[in-house]
């Protein structure tokens, strides 16, 4: 029996500021080691879903539940969820002036280790992993001497997100349109990194518009999210159908 890592039941969520309902009773289960893809038209709620899982407070959860590793996720703060093993690769990563990527990633890794009762990594130990991963995802080390994400191109920002994922080794990685704005090389690098990280325990939830990334990363399940609900689920064939016919056939 495979363990469920994420269980979402009848989730309703709205924009805090306006009260506009975005997710209208969404349910989804992801088991350890599985890769799920969510596709759907703009405004359907894809980004909202991953942000609600990560705990962003510009969204209000009105009803329903989210369990992560059998724990109630909705009671946890953003950082608790992160330390618990949820990683969100942002669609638009923030630029943070004056903060060096190295300093930032070290703080994040240490925070997680501390929460797990592990000791902080020494600078030497950390640097070794850090440098290896940079090489792996092919980020020019000079870039990482700048402030976090400042002056990074769109593609560089996305690579940096995947790099952080490699550093933090999450249990569940949420990839929010990581493929958009990437050239072929970057797309391949992201795909390779994800494939390399896949194992029997780690799960992925990939939000995307296109088939492109899915040429590299083969999903176990594909869901179509329209108007706040998952209207159809299936396997990779569903991607082909969408690519050919669009979303029209899924509307009620």
């Amino acid at each position: 029996m495979v363990n469920k890592i994420l269980e979402i039941k009848n989730l309703k969520a709205s924009v805090s500021e306006t009260g506009e309902e975005i997710l209208k009773g969404l349910s989804l289960e992801i088991a350890e080691g599985e890769t799920h893809v969510i596709m759907g038209p703009n405004g359907g709620g894809k980004s909202t879903l991953v942000n609600v899982i990560a705990g962003r407070d510009s969204y209000e959860v009105d009803s329903g539940s989210i369990k992560f590793k059998s724990k109630d996720l909705l009671n946890m703060t953003i950082d608790e969820r992160a330390r618990e093993g949820i990683f969100l690769a942002f669609q638009y990563p923030s630029e943070i002036p004056g903060v060096r990527p190295w300093q930032f990633v070290k703080a994040a890794v240490d925070a997680k280790r501390k929460a797990n009762g592990d000791s902080e990594l020494s600078v030497r130990e950390f640097s070794k992993i850090y440098d290896n991963n940079l090489k792996e995802i092919n980020i020019i080390p000079d870039l990482m001497k700048r402030s976090l994400n400042e002056g990074f191109s769109g593609g560089e920002k996305k690579r940096n997100e995947i790099f952080q994922m490699m550093m933090l080794e999450p249990n569940l990685a949420l990839l929010d349109e990581t493929d958009s704005g990437l050239d072929v090389d970057a797309l391949k690098a992201v795909g390779d990194a994800v494939n390399k990280m896949k194992d029997t325990k780690r799960s992925f939830l990939i939000v995307t518009h296109y088939q492109r990334l899915l040429d590299y990363v083969k999903p176990d399940f594909v869901h179509v999210l329209i108007n706040g609900k998952i209207v159809e689920s299936g396997n990779y064939d569903l991607v082909k159908k969408i690519e050919a016919d669009g979303y029209e056939s899924f509307w009620d």
């Binding site: 705990g55 407070d57 703060t77 950082d79 990683f87 943070i96 903060v99 930032f104 925070a111």
Partner: protein, 488 residues
Amino acid sequence: MVSDNNSISRKTKLEDKDYKWGFTTDVETEVAPKGLNEEIVKMISKKKSEPKWLLDWRLKAYNHWLSQDEKEGEPEWAMVDYPPIDYQDIHYYAAPNSSDSPKSLDEVDPEMLEAFEKLGIPLEERAQLAGVAVDAVFDSVSVATTYEKQLKELGIIFCPLSEAIKNHPDLVKKYLGSVVPYSDNYFANLNSAVFSEGSFIYVPPGVRCPIELMTYFRINTADTGQFERTLIVADKDSYVSYLEGCTAPIRKNSQLHAAVVELVALENAEIKYSTLQNWYPGTKEGVGGVYNFVTKRGKCLGKGSKISWTQVETGSAITWKYPSVILQGDNSVGEFYSVALTNNRQQADTGTKMIHIGKNTRSNVVAKGISAGEGNNTYRGQIKVLPSAENAQNFTQCDSLLIGDKCGAHTVPYIEVKNPSAKLEHEASTSKVSDDQLFYLMQRGLNEEEAHHMIITGWSKEVFKELPFEFAVEAGQLLKVSLEGAVG
């Protein structure tokens, strides 16, 4: 305990009170009666065995202050609010270890002790910092002596101002009041009349001072006096870097602190002046705390000279302070880098003045204000380009961060240009810590306070990088401690 081998502290010579105060032992118990009048001014001058010209200067200052006090009183334009100061209720002359100092650590504000703990200040230093009246001898004295020898060989003079008045009267007479005249402003006038002590530095031509000079090195002695006066002169082609302050919260017995700092840079000389100010800000409810009304000004007298101010201001109940540069020599450069933080009920009205007189003069201003709690933080800056200042250039950037909805952040720049070849740019922004940035950091596992701290330290980096390295690290830590409780 002297971890910084490049530093020297003259004020660590605690055991040598004669040296420090310039006269003998009965000082221990001596306090002038409250109030200010000509007799008090004369008494201060006499106690310090000053020459007549200095007494005359003090008296002129006193009379000017008096007439100003009658005419218009204290300056009112700053955005600070405090109960009226009774200038007749202050001791203008007091012995260093005055009787209201705490007798032991038990009498010290527990919050202050907690702050020492957080800043990692060694146990043996805490009592000193808190102003507990104890005699102490520090390891650093021997280190200080070593450096004094080195400075002497280079011809650098670094001594208390009162000593300089005795031993280098020509230098003092030439430059004292040459940048901040006795009639400059209300608080500076008061200082000129009654200043008690301060530092004097002279760097001879062509000499590059090899060490960072500091007044306080971790240890503040007993109250240096409310009316410090510092004078630094860098002769042709010389360089000196001076540090003032300390990350530890400094207890001041007196509430009013009206200091004057004058810097003079001759041809191609450079002076770098850094301050960490963390004086007692009062309680969270706004009771007590230091009123820091300070006049700091440098004059780039010679061609190609440079004066750079860097300040990290986290203390005091009220800060009224505008370190300025008069750019008189052609091609001279003035810089101002500042982080000012107000939390709880603190108020700060601080900024700079850059007065462009010479040709091709340049100035650069980076001011960061952080307002938290119920604090009010004002940047007030003046950039003035006189008709003679061909091709003057200034760039000013001032940014404010608001933390919480009970604080205030204000920006009041004055840009006055009388020469068409000048080029000036001023940019400013005010916002809170971005939700997006916070979410991003917290999604990586940092808690709210850590995330805030990382963002704020990063945001302040442009200023911190101007500080000597050890100071920069401490400054970051200081911000963290000062902001505690403001977030979340």
